[in-house]
Amino acid sequence: MATATFRIWRGDKAQGQFRDYNAEVAAGMVVLDVVHQIQMEQAGDLAVRWNCKAGRCGSCSAEINGMPKLMCMTRLNTLALDKPVTIEPMKAFPHLKDLVTDVSWNYKVKQLIPKFKPRPADAPDGTWRIAQEDVERVQEFRKCIECYLCQDVCHVLREHKMQEQFIGPRFLVHVAALEMHPLDVGDRLKDLRTQFGIGLCNITKCCTKVCPEGIAITDNAIIPLKERVVDRFFDPLSKLFRVFTATKT
C-alpha cells in the first residue's frame, strides 16, 4: 500500500499552522477517508464536519490544494500524491478549530429572506395543479445542499468581507427558487436590490464553478434575477406599467 502526506490545518481561533501527516492510501479512497484515518490513529481531537459521506448533506466543505470541495466526493486519484496534499478550512468564514468554521452567518441570512407565499389553492381538492416542466427550473435551485462552497469563493464575501451588504450566491439561488416557484406570489425584488445587494455581484462565475450540485448559479439564478430587478427599477416604462397593473414581474 502506498503512503502519502497530508498537510492539514490545525489550530483554533487564536492560532494555527499546517501539520503533516503520513497516511496509507488505498484504491477508491476519498479525502474524508484519510481525514478519518488520521483522526483515528494520529490526531484524536481533529475537528471535522461530516454526515452523509455521499455528497448529500453539504457538511464536509474544505479547501483541498486550495480548491473549495466536498471532502467526501474528492477521490485521491484526482490529486497528485507525490507532494503533500493540503487540506484547510473554508476561508470566507470565521475559523473555529482545525477544519471547522463558523457558518452561522448563513443561517442568519436565510432568516432575512421573506418566506414562501403560495397563491390560493385552485384545484377542487384544495391543492394545485403544476406541470412538470414548470417545476424543473426551480428544482435545479432546490438541489442546493447548503455546503456554502459558493459563498466561500465569492470575492465579495471572501476578499471584500461585505457580509453586511451581500447575501451571497447561495442565497441568491434561494431567492431565485422562491421567485420562480410556480406557486409563489411573494415579492423580494426590492430586497434584492437593497439589503440583499444583488448589484454587488459582477458575474465572475466563480460560484458556479465550485458548486458540487452543478447548479448554474450565475446563468440560471443570478442573471435572471438581475434582469427582473432592472426591469422593475430601472426601466421607466415597465415601472409605469406596474403602477397600473400591480402584477408581479
Partner: protein
C-alpha cells in the same frame, strides 16, 4: 460546583431531522416556547439523505389506492407486530401531511395532469411514494427548515444531550454540551420530544452517519422509559460495496422501482427463486410481467426485486454464500438493461436517478446507464425504539415523547421503504402537538443539582483518565462485533459471544482517554457516544436472543421458521430498580374489528 448555562422552554425537542422539525413547527404553532437541539448543523440530519420518497395513499397515479390498502401493506410488511393504531393513523394522515409540505413550498415531481407523482416501492401495492427524483429527504428537510426559521423557535445546533432529567416520575429537562466550546448546558422544559433517529453506527457496514449512535434510545432507557422491538434492525439489500471506502452507502430502492433488476454472477434473476408465502399472490410470474409493473401497467404484479427488504437482503446473502456473487462479494443491480425496452434510456435514468448516477460515477467510476452496479446489504434502519402511546407519542415517562426513527410501533418487524418519511411527518406532528398541550397543563419540574454535577463529572472523565483505550478503536471493535455476531442472520452461540464482547468493551470504555481540550474535540464526542452505543447494542443482542423464531428483519439460523406464539407479543425492555435490563413480553392488543376486516379483505 457544576458550571453550565441554563435555558428554559415549554417544549424541548432533541433532534432536528424530519420528526424533530415537524414537531417543532407544530408546537410553535400552538403558541408555546420551543427549542430544537441537534448534534450537527441544521439541515444536515439523516433525513437529508433520504432518497426514494414519502409513502402516502394519495391515489394520484393509481386510483385504487386508499388508506386501507396502505394500512394493510404496512401491517403485512411489519409481519403483524406493528401497533395497529399507529398504522391506521399513519395511513390516514400521511396524505394531508404531504400536501401540507407542498403548501410550504416543497416541489414534488408531477403526474401528467399536474398532481404529485408517486412511484413504486417494495411492499407497497400501488405506486405510493411522493418524490423529488432521488433527493426527497433534502426537499423535505429544507421545506421544514425554511418553514421553521420564520416561526421563531430557538435552535441549538451542534449541541449534544447526554442525559435526560426528571423530577420524580416526570420529565424536567435535559443536560448536554456544545460541540464548539465544550461548555455544559441545562435545558429545563415542561415536555421533551425525542427525535434522535437510529443506531446504525453499531455496525461496520452502514448507510448511517456518525450521529446514529442510539442516543435517544439510550437516553429514554436510562430515564426509565420502555423500549420495544429492539431485535428488529433493518438491513437494506442494496448498499455500495466497492471500492471499500464507500462500502455501505445506500443505493436507493428507487433503482428497482424504475425497473432495475438483480442478477447473480451467472446472469440469473435469482429473486424469482424464492417468493415468501405472504406475497405469492402479489408477485409477478415472469420477468415480462415484472417489467410491465414498473412501467405502470395496472394489471401486472410487482417483480420479486420489490419484495420486502429483509427478504431481498437474505436472498442476496444466500447468492454470495453459495458462490454466485459478484467479484467483490455482492450481486449485480442493473438499470442499464432498460435500454432494450425504452428509447433514450440513458437520459431517462439520469433524470430519474440523478444522485445515483453521480454517486457511482464519482465514487466508483461506474456509469450506471451503461453497466451494472455491485451491491450488498447495509445496516439501514432501526424499527425498535421508545414505546409510545399511539395517539400522543408519549412514552412511559410523563412529559417525555418520542417520534420518528427513535420511536417504536409503526414498523413492527420490518419497515416498508417510504414509510419512514411519512412516519416522521405524521408522528412528528402529533408529538409536537401533544407535547405542547402537555406543557400548557404542567409547570417546570425541579432539577437536582447534585445530578447535574455527577453528569458533568462523568462527561469529563475521558480527559482525566490516563487510560490506554482509544475511543475510535473501541467503537470499531463494537461495530465488528455487532456486524459479525448480531447481523442479518443470527444464532444463539454467536449472540452469547457478542454479549461477552460487549461486556469487555464496556470495561474498555471505562479506560478510554482523550487528548486535547474541550473545543470541538471529536475524540471526546466519540467517547461519550460510546456509552449509548454500548447500551443499545446490548439491548439489541438480548432482545434478539429472546426471539426464538425468524420474522421480518430478525432471522435466526437456529430457528428459521416463523412461530405463531411469537407473533402475539412485542419484546420490551426497561431499566430495573437494580440497574439491570428487564425484558418483558407485551401482548399485542386485539385488533379493532373494522381493521381486522381490512386485513382479511386484502390478503
Amino acid at each position: 460546583m457544576a458550571e453550565y448555562l441554563i435555558h428554559e422552554h415549554d417544549v424541548l425537542i432533541i433532534g432536528a431531522g424530519g420528526a424533530g422539525l415537524r414537531a417543532a413547527v407544530e408546537a410553535s404553532a400552538a403558541g408555546v416556547e420551543v427549542a430544537v437541539i441537534s448534534k450537527s448543523l441544521l439541515g444536515k440530519a439523516h433525513t437529508v439523505m433520504a432518497e426514494g420518497g414519502i409513502a402516502a395513499a394519495m391515489a394520484n397515479v393509481d386510483d385504487r389506492d386508499n388508506w386501507r390498502v396502505h394500512f394493510a401493506d404496512t401491517m403485512r410488511g411489519g409481519q403483524y407486530l406493528s401497533n395497529w393504531r399507529m398504522a391506521e393513523l399513519h395511513a390516514k394522515e400521511a396524505p394531508a401531511r404531504v400536501r401540507e409540505l407542498e403548501a410550504w413550498g416543497a416541489l414534488f415531481d408531477r403526474t401528467n395532469d399536474g398532481r404529485i407523482l408517486q412511484r413504486n416501492f417494495g411492499g407497497h401495492r400501488y405506486p405510493r411514494l411522493a418524490h423529488v427524483g432521488d433527493r426527497t429527504g433534502l426537499e423535505m428537510i429544507r421545506t421544514l427548515q425554511d418553514q421553521g426559521v420564520h416561526l421563531g423557535f430557538d435552535v441549538f445546533m451542534e449541541h449534544t444531550i447526554v442525559k435526560l432529567l426528571k423530577d420524580g416520575e416526570r420529565i424536567a429537562g435535559a443536560f448536554g454540551y456544545d460541540r464548539e466550546r465544550g461548555r455544559f448546558h441545562l435545558f429545563r422544559a415542561k415536555a421533551v420530544v425525542l427525535a434522535t433517529g437510529g443506531i446504525g453506527r453499531a455496525y461496520t457496514i452502514t448507510s448511517n452517519s456518525w450521529e446514529y449512535t442510539g442516543d435517544g434510545h439510550s437516553l429514554a432507557y436510562h430515564a426509565g422509559a420502555a423500549l420495544m422491538d429492539m431485535e428488529f434492525v433493518q438491513f437494506h439489500p442494496t448498499g455500495m460495496i466497492w471500492p471499500p471506502s464507500v462500502r455501505g452507502i445506500l443505493v436507493t430502492e428507487g433503482v428497482r422501482g424504475e425497473g432495475g433488476v438483480l442478477r447473480n454472477r451467472n446472469g440469473e434473476r435469482f429473486m424469482f427463486k424464492d417468493i415468501p408465502l405472504l406475497y405469492v399472490n402479489q408477485t409477478a410470474n415472469s420477468e415480462e410481467e415484472g417489467w410491465r409493473y414498473t412501467q405502470g401497467d395496472k394489471d401486472a404484479k410487482r417483480p420479486p426485486e420489490l419484495l420486502t427488504r429483509d427478504h431481498v437482503a437474505r436472498c442476496i446473502r444466500r447468492e454470495v454464500r453459495e458462490g454466485r456473487g459478484s467479484p467483490h462479494g455482492g450481486v449485480f443491480l442493473d438499470i442499464a438493461w432498460i435500454k432494450e425496452r425504452i428509447p433514450n434510456a440513458v437520459e431517462h435514468i439520469k433524470k430519474k436517478l440523478p444522485s445515483m448516477y453521480h454517486q457511482f460515477k464519482q465514487l466508483a467510476d461506474i456509469d450506471i446507464t451503461q453497466e451494472p452496479m455491485e451491491v450488498g446489504p447495509t445496516t439501514h434502519y432501526m424499527m425498535g425504539g421508545v414505546r409510545v402511546d399511539a395517539d400522543s407519542q408519549m412514552s412511559d415517562v410523563p412529559g417525555l415523547f418520542a417520534a420518528g426513527e427513535c420511536a417504536a410501533g409503526l414498523h413492527g418487524a420490518n419497515r416498508l421503504g417510504g414509510n419512514s418519511l411519512s412516519d416522521l411527518l405524521v408522528f412528528g406532528q402529533r408529538a409536537g402537538g401533544y407535547a405542547a398541550t402537555f406543557s400548557q397543563k404542567n409547570s417546570l419540574g425541579d432539577v437536582d443539582t447534585a445530578e447535574l454535577r455527577s453528569a458533568e463529572n462523568w462527561a469529563l472523565q475521558p480527559f482525566e483518565r490516563k487510560g490506554s483505550e482509544n475511543p475510535y478503536a473501541v467503537q470499531h471493535r463494537l461495530q465488528e462485533t455487532m456486524q459479525e455476531l448480531v447481523g442479518i442472520v443470527r444464532q444463539e452461540d454467536e449472540m452469547l459471544r457478542a454479549l461477552d464482547c460487549i461486556r469487555d468493551l464496556r470495561s474498555a470504555r471505562e479506560r478510554v482517554s482523550v487528548d486535547g481540550n474541550r473545543e470541538y474535540n471529536a475524540g471526546w464526542h466519540t467517547a461519550l457516544d460510546l456509552y449509548h452505543l454500548l447500551t443499545v447494542s446490548e439491548i439489541v443482542t438480548k432482545a434478539a436472543l429472546q426471539r426464538k423464531e425468524s420474522r421480518g428483519a430478525h432471522f435466526r439460523d437456529d430457528f428459521p421458521e416463523k412461530d405463531k406464539q411469537f407473533g402475539l407479543f412485542n419484546i420490551a425492555v426497561r431499566k430495573g430498580a437494580n440497574g439491570a435490563m428487564q425484558f418483558s413480553h407485551e401482548a399485542i392488543p386485539p385488533m379493532r374489528q373494522d381493521l381486522q376486516q381490512i386485513i382479511e379483505e386484502m390478503k
